[in-house]
Structures are given as C-alpha cells and as structure tokens.
C-alpha cells in the first residue's frame, strides 16, 4: 500500500511564501546592491566589492576582535552562570525569580545608560582592563548577554531532574564538580549551545557600547564603511552574515556529540 504524503494546506504555503519573501528579499536586495560598482556606466555585475572587503586589513582586524570578544563573553558567561543557575536550582530555588528579574534588567536599561554607568563604575580600574576590549567590553557584553544566557540555561535546567541526577551521582561517589561536569553539563548541552549562539549574535552586532567606549569592533567598521562607501557595505554585510552563520554552525558541530540529542529528549520527560 502506498503511503499518502501529508498534504500541506494552501494557506500554509501562502504564509510560508510571505515569510520567505520577508526574510530573503532584503538579503537578495543587499546581494544585488553588492554586485554593483561604484562608478557611473560600470558593467552590471562584478565581485569587485567582495574583493575590496577581503583585501581590507581593517575588516580582518575588527572581525577578529569581535570574534575573540564573542568567544570570551561566551566562556565567561557559561563559567559564571552554569554553576550559579545549577546551585540556585539545587539549593535555593526561591532565588530563581530574583535571578530572572535581574536577567531582565539589561533589556530594560537602555544601552546608552548602561555604558555611561559602566564607564563611571570602572573608571580608575587598571588600563589592561579599562583600556582594552578584552576587559571592559567583555564585562559589558557578559551583562548585555545575561538575559539570553539565563533564560536559555534556566530552560535547560528545568527540563532535567537536577535533584535526582545530582543525588544519584553523589551516591555513586562523585563530587559536586564531577557531577556538574560529567552529569549535568552534558544534559544541558543544547541549552548551553543556545546561550552561546545568542551571545555570539549579540556581540557580533553590538554597536552602542563599543562606539561610546571607543573600541574598534566589527560593527563600528561596518557602520564606517556604510557611511563612506555604499556598494562595499552591501558585500560586507553579506560576508559578515555568512561568517556569523558559519561560526554558529561550527559551534553547533563542536557542541554536538553522539547521544546528545537523546539525552535532551530523555531529560525533558
């Protein structure tokens, strides 16, 4: 007997098309724009702008800074918040709403207010911290990414039975650290990956704080090119898009392991 393929409703196709157009049209327009040359009467399609971006030293320099910053922010966030949220779930669940409220603060406080506050707070700290993106900017980004990190990880912890898994591990002789690394962490892998993706996206696109604190990150470079040269800016936007997606994909591949998916499903039951 032939199996009937599930029919997709025509209305669903229409909505999918609208969503597709909404998503891909700007990308296509940017792509089309990026193929033009900044000269009157130049031929239609050229990869000149892409060549310009790839051979631009500032592009590689700023994207490297932003990328390292993103990795640093992810590392600090996970190192700080995974044990914290684990502890809160395990020992002081009453504190969870407090933490959730604190996580909303970066959404509520405008970046301009936050950066002024942070600059004042950290004024007078050593120059290796205050004067480099790896210190001040990374700290600001950890705060900025806190809502994304918290809510992703919190959902991950809520999907597993933290108490029973911890007690089972302890009764078998594991210390709290071993339990966290060998039992808890592998079971919140997807949540941690989600937190990492969102943090990466936040850092790769953050403009206000970097600009006001006078650090030369990738979004600053992008904005500079956009203001001064229209066509290469299109190519730059698309390339940055691809690089960010590539980074997310590699994070996904690094974070995925055999059995991990099953772990999440079982943990969620």
């Amino acid at each position: 007997m032939r199996l009937r393929r599930p029919r997709i409703a025509p209305s669903a196709v229409v909505w999918l098309l609208i969503a597709g157009v909404y998503f891909f049209l700007p990308l296509y327009a940017t792509f089309d724009f990026s193929l033009k040359k900044n000269a009157v009467g130049a031929p239609c399609c050229t990869l000149h702008n892409y060549g310009w971006v790839i051979h631009n030293g500032d592009f590689w320099h700023t994207i490297k800074i932003s990328f390292i910053l993103a990795i640093e922010t992810i590392a600090i966030s996970l190192l700080l918040f995974v044990p914290t949220i684990y502890w809160v779930h395990l020992k002081v669940p009453k504190l969870r709403p407090v933490l959730a409220f604190m996580a909303l603060v970066p959404f509520v406080v405008p970046p301009i207010v936050m950066v002024v506050g942070l600059l004042k707070t950290f004024k007078g700290t050593p120059s290796w911290f205050y004067g480099t993106p790896w210190g001040f900017l990374a700290t600001a980004y950890v705060i900025l990414a806190f809502p994304y990190t918290f809510f992703s990880l919190d959902a991950g912890f809520r999907a597993i039975d933290v108490h029973t898994l911890t007690e089972a591990s302890q009764s078998l002789g594991a210390t709290t650290m071993t339990t966290l690394v060998k039992v808890i962490l592998p079971n919140i892998r997807t949540a941690a990956l989600g937190a990492a993706f969102l943090t990466l996206a936040v850092v790769m696109g953050e403009f206000t704080i970097a600009n006001l604190a006078a650090f030369h990150t990738f979004p600053i470079f992008l904005q500079y090119v956009n203001e001064s040269q229209g066509f290469p800016a299109g190519a730059l936007t698309l390339l940055s898009f691809m690089i960010t997606w590539g980074a997310m994909l590699s994070l996904l591949l690094v974070g995925r392991k055999r059995g991990a998916r099953g772990a999440v499903i079982a943990g969620a039951r």
């Binding site: 089972a168 302890q170 009764s171 002789g173 060998k182 079971n187 059995g259 499903i265």
Partner: protein, 365 residues
C-alpha cells in the same frame, strides 16, 4: 552486633516534625522495609542514611562508625530512586560504569564487573541503549545494577517500583529480593505498598507520624499487630470496638452482642478493647428472616461484593469485611442477611485508652 543502626533520629522541617526519634537496628545482609503512608517519615529516614539530609538529633552508625559529617559521596551507599535517575547522556553500560570510574578502578576490571551486573539484572541485550530507549522497568533494573556496581555497604531503595505497572512491579520486586539474597547485601527499602514489603523483607518497620509503630518479621506484622494503626495498615482487618464484660470467661461485648474470644481472658472487666479479625477468618452463612445472633456471631447485611479473582470480598453493615471463595460468595448476594461467625482463637485484642480514637488511613486494601 548490628551492622546498621539508627539511634533516636529526629528531623524537623520548620514546625513539622518528620521524624520523632526512630531507632532501627539491622544485621549484615538483612532486608528491612520501611513501610507507611505518605508523610510518615520513611523517605526522610532513608535520605538521612544516604547523607542527603542531616538529622536534628540522633546518630547513624554503620559497622560501629558514626556517619555524622560524612558527605553522601563518601558513604558507600548504593541508592535507587523513585524517579528515573539514569544519566540521560550515558548508555545503560556507561551508567553502571559511572561509580566504578569515579573510584578509579582499572578498565578491564570495570568492564567485567559492569558486564556481570548487567547480566545479573537481565539486560545484556540492551546494555548499549540510552535511558530513553528503555522501558521504566528496564531503567530501574539499570539503576539497581548501577547502585550495586560500587559494592555499597548498604543498598537504599526509595520506592523504586512505584512508577511501574502492576505486573512489572511484582516481577521486579522478586528480582530485587533474589539479587539481594545472592549478594548478601544489607538493604533498606522504602515503600507504601504493604504487599510489597511483606513479600520481600526479612523485617518490616511500619511508620506513622514520624515514629516506628511496630517492627518485626512480615509474619509477625500480619498475625500480631501491636497497634490499631498497624492492624489497619497491614492487610485488611475488621476492627470492632468492644469492652470486656467477663474477663474470667473471655467475653466481650460489641454493639450489644456478646462474643467469646480467647485473647480476652484475664483482662479486667470494663476494659475498652479493639477486636481485630482478618477477613479470611470470618465465616459467613446465609441467615433467614428474623435470625438473631447466637453463639459467637454477628448479624449483618451484605452491602457490596468485590471480585478479587480466587476470592470475593464482601462488605457488610457494621463495617464487617469478609473474604470467601467466589463460588460460596455467589450464594450471598448484595442485600442478603448473613450470620458472621467470629472465631474464638486467632483473634487479636488491643487495649484502647478511654479517649483513644482509631487512626483513619482510608479504606484498607
């Protein structure tokens, strides 16, 4: 000398006293069940032994050594939980191996022990499956193998079968007992299922309201309950309030009927007592209209009949319950008047204080 001792254990949560001083003494290789309804303190006691919680007062001693201040990961207690507790990111085999790996055992040694244990719990064919690929019963088998892998000093089981369906529950409890006897491991088992406790334990401790009401062998608990609560909780029991009318002749009066009961001999007249009669010892006969109780009997009317397979349970007026063969029960339909013959021997009597109310734990099973 006892292997595991719980001495005067107290545990308080806010104003609620979960344990009001319990004492347990268990020999090496023995199987003790802590039995009681929800909230009686049985799981609290188990968690104190495991080290997940600390007592407010009292001591836990194992092989003569006080466990105060010893963290759970240093106690060498294997534990099987009520909730499925397998690590979802590991296969059954890796789960069983976990404790051995933590202890730094050699790989070849570990591999053999894991294989032996997986074989012991009958899961050799499923050792490479992840927990979500195993049924509830299989998961609890793996959890048992994992707890046994570390060669614990005491095996702790916290209602490990309560999430499983009836058939698997019976099968698995027999296997737990078989494995426990085979390995000779001292075991503390928490359950609210009296049938389960009676079926697999060397000793049963019935708990209620944070205290141990009675501790003894399953047969002692069934045949000679020492408190009204135990009488009600272990099996089904007819509980008839009465008072002694002639202690010398062993006569009591219940609801205007005089009954002769051996256990009443020597008691003082006027003493308030509780007569305990197992439903299977109550003999029922059909009664004609206008029949009155004579001899050692009570008159009642059949209210309900419940088919339980080989026997049928009849509930009657006056709170009487009788179990009889299904064939005989068919002659006593609902609404029929019956004469319930009370045996003179084998009936228990408990003294009731003048103001003592009977514990209400719901309908007996």
């Amino acid at each position: 000398m006892s292997y595991l001792q719980l001495e005067n254990l107290h545990r308080q949560f806010g104003s609620f006293q979960a344990l009001k001083g319990i004492d347990i003494s268990l020999g090496e290789g023995e199987f003790l069940s802590l039995l009681g309804p929800s909230g009686c303190g049985k799981t609290t006691a188990l968690r104190l032994v495991a080290g997940f919680d600390r007592p407010n007062a009292g001591r836990i001693v194992i092989e003569g050594k006080d466990l105060a201040g010893v963290p759970p990961n240093k106690r060498d207690m294997g534990m099987v939980f009520q909730a499925y507790s397998l690590f979802p990111n590991m296969t059954a085999r890796q789960n069983v191996d976990f404790g051995l790996k933590i202890r730094g055992r050699e790989k070849a040694d570990r591999s053999k022990r894991v294989s032996d244990l997986i074989e012991l719990v009958g899961l050799a064919h499923a050792s490479d499956r992840y927990p979500h690929q195993l049924s509830g019963g299989m998961q609890q088998r793996v959890a048992l193998a994992r707890a046994l892998a570390i060669e614990p000093r005491v095996l702790l089981l916290d209602e490990p079968l309560s999430a499983l369906d009836a058939k698997v529950r019976v099968q698995l409890r027999e296997e737990i007992r078989r494995i426990q006897l085979e390995l000779g491991i001292t075991t503390l088992y928490v359950t609210h299922d009296q049938e389960e406790a009676l079926a697999i334990s060397d000793h049963v401790a019935v708990m209620y309201g944070g205290v141990i009401e009675q501790m003894g062998t399953p047969s002692e608990m069934y045949t000679a309950p020492k408190t009204p609560f135990v009488a009600e909780f272990i099996g089904t029991m007819n509980r008839l309030e009465a008072h002694i009318v002639d202690g010398a002749a062993g006569e009591v009066e219940h609801a205007g009927n005089r009954l002769r009961i051996d256990a009443a001999r020597g008691r003082s007249n006027g003493e308030r007592v509780l007569i305990l009669i197992r439903p299977e010892t109550l003999d029922l006969q059909a009664a004609g209209n206008g029949t009155t109780a004579n001899g050692n009997s009570l008159i009642a009317e059949v209210l309900t009949q419940t088919f339980l397979g080989p026997v049928t349970r009849l509930k009657m007026t006056g709170g009487l319950i009788a179990d009889m063969s299904t064939a005989r029960a068919s002659a006593l339909p609902v609404g029929a008047n019956v004469v319930a013959q009370v045996p003179t021997e084998g009936v228990q009597l408990l003294t009731l204080a003048d103001d003592e109310a009977l514990p209400d734990i719901g309908e007996g099973t």
